[in-house]
């Protein structure tokens, strides 16, 4: 595929951020529900296509932010509209734009009431999510970060399950309460630096104590979003009650914002504090991996099972990030992408089950694979991917994370290994029950296998499972320079001085 070369004045990131908003504004005036679905699908596909050139135009040899756009926004407060992406955010932006059409597809029949509002919420979410990954001005970032809460809470609260109100409010309060101190930290950094530009905030020689406070403020906010143990309790509630598309967005993209926050802000801006707190965070990650896995093993609700497996997988991501070496961070980024692909697919699969049986209980779904062979095939591959079977995507990520982890602490890395085994246990248990069941399964003979729309929804994710699993080099290559640069910032002279002091 060849694209015309990137014209430096073409604001491709702004186009990506604001075209969903324009599509949402047009959707307000569409009356027919069928047309609305097609319009949203078409616009998300077009946005995904527009985002593809980013991959081709991106220069992987440099760690500099690319496609940078800069404009004054509120000059008197020194807030600017600055966008730009590096190798890490490139992958997350592309994942966001590519997942969106699948979210529309998996809601095609699932959402029957208030279709217009649902589609508008999805499109507004896309604006906020792409904006979070592109923003290089801290206030701009914060605006997108918080603005996302409203459509997400509505997705859960209006179209969710029986306990939707509880879940929506818990989600909102948890995330909002977490990020209020982030705002204080942002202002405090601004008063030291004199600018809200994230690049200017990196590498500034802050006092050690100041860094620790800023790091803690960041940590609470991002750890809730990830979610790290013990801040994870909002996640199962939100996942279980959210509609399928909401669960997919939560798992695939929203959770990544926490780990992205660690990579983009915590490590480069507060390197000293990062080194101070690393041991604690690594242990929290180990706990999350084991605890998430064990809890997933005990679930009978399919969505809860996948939700707790998310806690475990995101534990690997934070473990890799705070290993603070190339393998660890590249592995963590791969885990983020893989979790987005695999867990997104699993949530879509659970949604497909729910649309047919109106239950997600492991006992009542038992044995449906016999009557839905195509579905069972998809589910099997995604389950294997989720337990990091070699040849699938997750294997690459978790392998790199463990490789990075062993360099830091053999003890901690060994402690994470049971997590991998537990993952195999809960995923195979689920697969075995859903696909085969027992001798006395409920009668599923009337079930129809996947239709074309559902196959089209799951197939792209299947492609990524094997593409990343068998040939991960392009993905690692594209972020390598950025990760190197990030590590120089995190382990640079400022941090070394701090370590020496310790």
């Amino acid at each position: 595929m060849t694209f015309p070369s990137h014209h430096p004045d073409f604001p491709i990131l702004s186009v990506l951020i604001f075209s969903p908003l324009v599509a949402a504004a047009i959707a307000v005036f569409i009356r027919s529900e069928g047309l609305l679905r097609w319009w949203t699908l078409a616009s998300t596909i077009v946005i995904a296509l527009v985002s593809l050139p980013l991959w081709c135009w991106f220069d992987a040899t440099t760690a500099k932010f690319q496609f940078v756009e800069h404009a004054a926004w509120i000059p008197s407060l020194k807030i600017s509209y600055t966008l730009g992406i590096d190798g890490i955010s490139l992958l997350l932006v592309l994942m966001t734009t590519l997942i969106m059409p699948l979210c529309v597809l998996c809601s095609w029949r699932y959402i029957t009431k208030r279709v217009k509002e649902f589609m508008i919420c999805l499109l507004v979410m896309e604006t906020a999510m792409v904006g979070v990954f592109c923003a290089l001005d801290f206030i701009l970032f914060f605006v997108f970060w918080e603005a996302m809460l409203i459509p997400m809470a509505l997705l859960i609260g209006v179209w969710g399950g029986p306990r939707k109100i509880y879940a929506a409010i818990k989600f909102f309060i948890y995330t909002m309460a977490g990020s209020i101190l982030l705002l204080v930290a942002i202002i405090a950094l601004y008063l030291k630096v004199g600018s809200f530009d994230i690049r200017a905030m990196m590498g500034h020689p802050y006092a050690a104590e100041f860094q620790c406070w800023v790091f803690l403020a960041f940590f609470i906010s991002f750890a809730i979003k990830v979610p790290m143990f013990p801040f994870h309790t909002w996640l199962p509630a939100a996942h279980v009650e959210a509609p399928t598309a909401g669960s997919v967005l939560l798992a695939s993209i929203l959770l990544k914002m926490g780990t992205y926050g660690f990579l983009r802000f915590s490590l480069p801006i507060t390197p000293h504090a990062t080194h101070v707190f690393t041991p604690y965070i690594l242990w929290l990650s180990v706990i999350a991996i084991i605890y998430g896995g064990l809890t997933a093993l005990a679930q009978s609700d399919l969505k809860k099972l996948v939700a707790y497996s998310s806690v475990s997988h995101m534990g690997f991501a934070t473990f890799g990030i705070f290993a603070l070496n190339v393998n660890g961070i590249e592995g963590a980024t791969m885990v983020m992408i893989n979790h987005g692909v695999t867990t997104g697919a699993l949530f879509i699969a659970v949604g497909i089950i729910y649309e047919r049986l109106h239950t997600r209980d492991l006992g009542e779904t038992a044995g449906m694979g016999k009557f839905m062979p195509v579905f069972a095939g998809f589910l099997g591959i995604f389950c294997l991917s989720s337990l990091a079977f070699p040849g699938t995507n997750s294997f690459i990520g978790e392998f790199l994370v463990l490789a990075g982890g062993f360099k830091v602490s053999k003890l901690m890395a060994i402690c994470t290994v049971p997590g991998v085994v537990i993952a195999a246990a809960y995923m195979l248990r689920m697969l075995q029950k859903v696909a085969y069941g027992h001798v006395n399964n409920p009668d599923h003979s009337q079930l129809a296998d996947l239709n074309l729309r559902e196959i089209v929804t799951l197939a792209p994710l299947l492609v990524f499972v094997f593409w990343i699993g068998l040939h991960p080099q392009p993905f690692i290559h594209v972020m390598h320079a950025s990760v190197q640069h990030l590590l120089e910032q995190a382990n640079g002279p400022l941090a070394n001085a701090a370590v020496a002091l310790r």
């Binding site: 000059p75 008197s76 407060l77 918080e146 609260g157 209006v158 109100i165 409010i169 909002m176 209020i180």
Partner: protein, 479 residues
């Protein structure tokens, strides 16, 4: 020419007075009041760049006053439009309602131009007394005269606060020997740290704290909101608070640039207001009472800018309170329309609003999330400017308390959204909207959004206008 907005309002009030003399002229009065309000906007826009000193230095027209006059005029139009027919006021006194409303707005418009404490007090009374009268004009229901109770509470507290303010002003006059604020600034500077000056300033603030509903002058707020008709409550909640903040800027800047006693006082009151308002709001069932307590908390937020005691802080407070006008009116327009026959609206009455009237639901969600301080709405930008102004002056503890309060407040704001968006309507009827309500809703949503996304022009205008607050009179050209 520089006096045009005031002239328009007073001529309008005169016209309304003559309309009141006739029988059952409610409809004409309503139209007349609307025409006056639109004419006031035009006059304010026309006089935006004017500068003048009138009445022997007692009255100054400058950018600061003109911007706020424009805000009052806009608020006036919005309040009239969201009130619609004002069906909760008896037919035979409805014309008088418009008369008093216009008089109150003209008092506010004069208030921001007064630079002499005597005219300032007169303007303050002119803006307050008509409001005291609007409260008991509500229709009686089921033998409960709660509107009377509210009115008595409002006027008793109001008059007492005014008395305390006058007492404080007498101290300031005694210290400086002048009633002119620009002269007072110069004369007060050498003695501003003396106990007498601090006492005088603190007592003076009381009158304004009452209008703004700052702890411990807040007791009237929820009761008056509850007892007054929905339209009246919307006026008390929005317009008069902007006026209070504007005058507070003049008086706090008397104590600038740093006066530890005053800073401590303002900090304590801000903290107390935020905690009191937010914690009590958590258990409210009546939407107007909820907004009343949240108003106390927001008064606390607005004080954060004054704690900073510099131009950035004052600009932040003014910007915040202007934004608050739009946010709270967005909530009140929903209250006015959801309420049946002007009755108070409980949280359950909102159930299923997204089905009964999508536009009202969107307006409410925008207003509530703006009050909660979620971007991209003005509430977030306002809080952000307030917090950065206070943090720049090193008030870290206050800033952290403020954000903790923001987190507390989320719960009850979400409670409103829960009723409106997440619950089923049951057998509650669909709400039909007339075109004025639709226009008001769209205007308020756009206002809350634009002030939040593109605040640069407002903040810049307010900041540059602050330069002329309490400047010596000579620096302004005489007409």
């Amino acid at each position: 020419m520089a006096f045009l907005p005031e002239l328009v309002l007073m001529a309008g009030a005169l016209v309304l007075f003559f309309i009141c003399l006739g029988e059952s002229r409610a409809r004409q009065a309503g139209i007349a009041a609307f025409v006056v309000s639109v004419a006031t906007i035009a006059a304010c826009a026309l006089c935006l760049g004017q500068q003048a000193v009138l009445f022997d230095g007692a009255y100054r027209v400058d950018l600061f006053s003109q911007i706020l006059k424009l805000v009052f005029a806009c608020g006036f139009v919005l309040v009239l439009m969201l009130g619609g027919e004002i069906s909760d006021i008896r037919d035979d006194i409805r014309a008088e309602y418009y008369l008093f409303l216009t008089l109150s707005v003209s008092g506010l418009v004069m208030l921001v131009s007064c630079v002499d404490i005597i005219t300032l007090v007169v303007a303050l009374e002119l803006s307050s007394f008509p409001l005291y009268l609007l409260v008991p004009m509500r229709c009686e229901r089921e033998g409960q005269r709660s509107q009377m109770e509210s009115a008595i509470k409002y006027i008793m507290f109001g008059v007492a606060a005014n008395g305390i303010m006058l007492f404080g002003l007498s101290y300031l006059f005694g210290l400086t020997g002048t009633t002119s604020l620009p002269v007072m600034v110069e004369k007060l500077r050498p003695v501003v740290h003396s106990p007498l000056a601090i006492t005088g300033l603190a007592l003076t603030f009381c009158g304004l704290f009452f209008k703004l509903a700052v702890f411990p002058f807040h007791f009237w707020t929820p009761d008056v909101y509850q007892g007054a008709s929905n339209e009246t409550a919307s006026i008390i909640a929005s317009l008069s608070k902007v006026g209070a903040v504007a005058v507070l800027v003049r008086f706090v800047s008397l104590a600038s640039p740093d006066n530890h006693a005053i800073v401590l006082l303002l900090t304590l009151l801000a903290v107390a207001s935020m905690f009191y308002g937010n914690l009590i709001a958590l258990i409210q069932k009546d939407l107007k009472r909820l907004l009343g307590f949240s108003g106390i908390a927001h008064a606390g937020y607005a004080l954060i800018g004054f704690v900073a005691m510099d131009a950035a802080g004052y600009a932040a407070s003014l910007y915040y309170i202007v934004g608050y006008l739009f946010m709270v009116l967005a909530c009140f327009v929903v209250i006015c329309k959801v309420s049946r026959d002007g009755a108070n609206v409980s949280m359950e009455d909102l159930a299923g609003l997204h089905r009964r009237s999508p536009l009202l639901a969107v307006t409410l969600v925008v207003g509530i999330f703006a009050l909660a301080g979620i971007p991209p709405f003005v509430g977030f930008m306002g809080k952000f400017t307030l917090l950065s102004a206070a943090l720049a002056k090193g008030h870290l503890a206050l800033v952290i308390i403020a954000v903790v309060n923001t987190a507390i407040a989320i719960y009850y704001y979400l409670g409103v959204v829960r009723e409106a968006c997440f619950r089923d309507a049951g057998d509650r009827p669909v709400i039909a909207l007339d075109w004025t309500t639709r226009v008001v809703c769209v205007l308020l949503i756009v206002g809350v959004l634009v002030l939040g996304i593109a605040p640069a022009f407002v903040i810049d205008a307010i900041s540059s206008s602050l330069a002329c607050v309490n400047l010596p009179l000579a620096s302004v050209p005489q007409p």
